[in-house]
Amino acid sequence: MNISIYLLLWLIPLVLLMMGVWFFRSGPGSRWLAGKKINQRQLLEDALKLIFNLQQDGRPPDKFRLAVELKLDLPAVQALIARLEAQELVVAQHGILSLTTEGQRWALQVIRAHRLWERYLADEARMPLEKIHSQANLREHHMTVEEVDSLDAALGYPARDPHGDPIPTAAGVLRDLKDRTPLNEMKPGQRGRITHLEDDTPLAYAQILAEGLYVGQLISVQENNRERVVLSDDSNQFVLAQAIAENVSVHLEAPKKTADPSIIPLGNLPSQLQAEIVHIDDRCQGYTRRRFLDLGLTPGTMIYPELENPFKDPRAYRLRGTLIALRHNQASYIWVRPLSNEIQ
């Protein structure tokens, strides 16, 4: 018996079957199956979003910019623009494109979907922040208005995406947030809350995240010169190059009298030491935050670490008469003020 022939007889259909399943379920075939229409629509939506963003930034959108940003050749861009015009989404004047009312409505819809997905991925799926932008780019298309609405509702109608950009409302209103002072324009001694982290340049964004800065963080500038900006948030110091610092925007706040060094993350609270919850960090959002609140982790509540797992993480905390286990990274979102009296 010639085994190899039998093997081939078996293996080839098996491999073909597996490839076929992959191709139509998640590979290129799935998009082909869904029809070319959606592909076209995706391109259309990307173009609308791009034109909107260019307009916002004050850069006149023309076919060359579109070609560069969408990675298309000129004939393809021209065909695209022709389609946009035919659908009355865009009007061209002297080669400069501008959105019609309908075009703007659609563009805002896509931006809304994008930023809501970013919120979802960051809060509910707890995906690393540097990864959410590309994922949201995939998910923002193929959505009906109703689907976007229910996503919005499920997330509790958030006002901003995780980078601090405003999310358009269902009516298509893009709230203008004026509270943005670039970090590199701040003077030493000034305080403020971070309101926006620019994610257009992925490298700079990754570096900002690696430093540990986040939207909602309260910082004060200690040093600002040609080379670098030094800031601190009471417990840590951050050093950023000027090129990086310009990607961080801050809402200025009145300088606080004194820092409160007695407030520490719950994760660092020594065992058996009682503490009072001060607040839950802004980084902790979505399901986890709601669950924390539902469990009674509200400001003013007494809490202490009662049990440690054999591997030190998670720990179980006694609060409101019950024992709740939290992982270390979760517990560091909860800020507490240790009290002097020890349990037992």
């Binding site: 979505g286 709601r290 019950t322 286990a325």
Partner: protein, 465 residues
């Protein structure tokens, strides 16, 4: 004004009010509720000096302590399995004897009345025998395992196990409670899949559901024990043989745990990374379990429930096996033909066609793998068992060319292959999604072929096998 008020206007008003509220509207609600609760309880609840608390705390310290805690956990789990396996042996045998006795008598009766042989065979040696086999193998271990497990659950010990092991599961992106769904999976994978409800985070729950199959349920355990005894332990002197057998079974379980963690890690970093995720685990106070209620519920809710589902699929499987074994094309039975056709693929992964045939037929219920295999090997017309290990070994090794590789690969295949029909159905019921159900079937199947193929290839390369 009043007359123009429409439902839509109210919704629009809500939308325009929303941005004016502080961003943490939900925070605000919960905070004010809890503030009120604090105010009220301060007035009406008086907490005296602590007394009883210390007892709970001492136990907690003990069961979560670094060395002793893990040791206690291991001992308890091993004790549960030992009691289940050993305790189930005798009743399993009795039930089997009884049911097969009925089968024999009923078949005789049918023959005497004058029914054609194929009616008798199909009904009694096919359908009934399939049922009998599944019940005999499945019922006793479940009737022992589930009550014990429920007692541990009601005592409040199981959440501590989840607490102890969370460290491990966190590393692969899963939830500590998955350890409990796995433990439940030893009883029955379908029950394990259902128990994944205790995980309230969608992503971790899906991981627990899709990987539960890598824990051998008690339909597969006997096969693994049999192989470990006959092939691995037989090479050792009798004195250490049983230890070797136990060690081998433990090894297989550990391989299963390894693949559970590996696949969990893979899933959480690929297809599941966009699913919602969170971690909470409450450690309830220790409470005295209500034994009567436990016996009732674990028997009714779990054992009978699972058994009933298995019976529904075992009867048709029994019928199919009988048909395959009794319809002849040329000199060979249908079963033999199918086995011959499957043979090359089987050999490729270190098994043979008969084993693969048995696994295909056993998709409804894994308990019937070995009896189906024996039926084809011995060329008889109904599922058969060989109680004597010596002659079993002789049949497999001398008669059908089994080697150590065949045995090891069959253990691996049994551990990793696709879940049984009941489990697949349960996955669908729990996830309501074809996508996850198909994945829950395909991932283990692909993995089982891959692993056994690699093992076979390596052994053959090294000149073994």
């Amino acid at each position: 004004m009043n007359s123009t008020l429409t439902p839509q206007a109210v919704l629009d008003r809500a939308e325009s009010l929303r941005p004016k509220l502080s961003s943490g509207f939900r925070d605000e609600i919960v905070k004010s509720l809890y503030a009120e609760v604090e105010r009220i309880t301060r007035r009406s609840v008086k907490i005296g000096p602590k007394k009883k608390w210390d007892f709970d705390q001492k136990i907690d310290r003990l069961v979560t302590s670094p060395v002793l805690g893990l040791l206690i956990m291991l001992l308890i789990l091993m004790a549960v399995f030992w009691v289940t396996i050993v305790g189930a042996n005798v009743p399993s045998g009795l039930i089997a004897d009884f049911l097969f006795f009925i089968e024999e008598k009923a078949a005789d009766l049918f023959t005497n009345i004058g029914f054609p042989w194929w009616v008798t065979g199909f009904l009694w040696h096919g359908v009934f025998r399939g049922l009998a086999w599944v019940i005999a193998v499945m019922l006793p271990p479940m009737a022992i395992f589930f009550p014990i497990f429920t007692i541990l659950e009601d005592l409040g010990y199981l959440p501590r196990v989840a607490f102890n092991l969370d460290w491990l599961f966190k590393r692969v992106g899963a939830h500590g409670k998955q350890s409990l769904t796995m433990a439940m999976g030893f009883g029955c994978n379908a029950a394990g899949v259902i128990s994944a409800r205790v995980i309230d985070s969608p992503r971790e729950r899906l991981i627990a559901i899709l990987t539960n199959n890598f824990v051998p349920c008690n339909g597969r355990f006997p096969t693994i024990i049999m192989l470990a005894t006959v092939f691995v332990a037989a090479a050792f002197p009798p004195l250490v043989a049983s230890f070797v057998a136990a060690g081998t079974v433990l090894g297989v379980v550990l391989v299963g745990v390894f693949f559970t963690l590996l696949v969990s890690w893979g899933l959480s970093n690929t297809i599941l990374k966009g699913e919602a995720s969170a971690f909470t685990l409450e450690l309830p106070p220790y409470r005295r379990p209500n034994i009567g209620q436990i016996l009732y519920t674990s028997l009714i809710d779990r054992t009978i429930f699972v058994l009933w589902r298995a019976v529904q699929v075992a009867a048709p499987a029994g019928a199919i096996i009988w048909i395959l074994g009794n319809i002849f094309v040329g000199d060979l039975s249908l079963a033999q033909h199918v086995a011959d056709f499957l043979d090359p693929l089987g050999i490729l992964i270190g098994l043979d066609g008969v084993i693969l045939l048995a696994y295909i037929i056993a998709i409804p219920a894994n308990e019937i793998v070995v009896p189906t295999m024996m039926m084809v090997y011995m060329g008889v017309g109904m599922m058969t068992d060989i109680p004597d290990l010596g002659s079993l070994r002789a049949l497999l090794v001398d008669g059908h060319g089994w080697t150590l590789l065949t045995a090891v690969n069959m253990m691996l295949f049994s551990l990793l292959h696709n879940p049984c029909a009941t489990t697949v159905l349960t996955i669908y019921k729990e996830t309501k999604s074809y996508k996850w159900t198909i994945l829950g079937f395909v991932i283990p199947l692909a993995l089982s072929f891959l692993v056994t193929f690699l093992v076979a290839a390596i052994v053959r390369l090294l000149g073994g096998g």
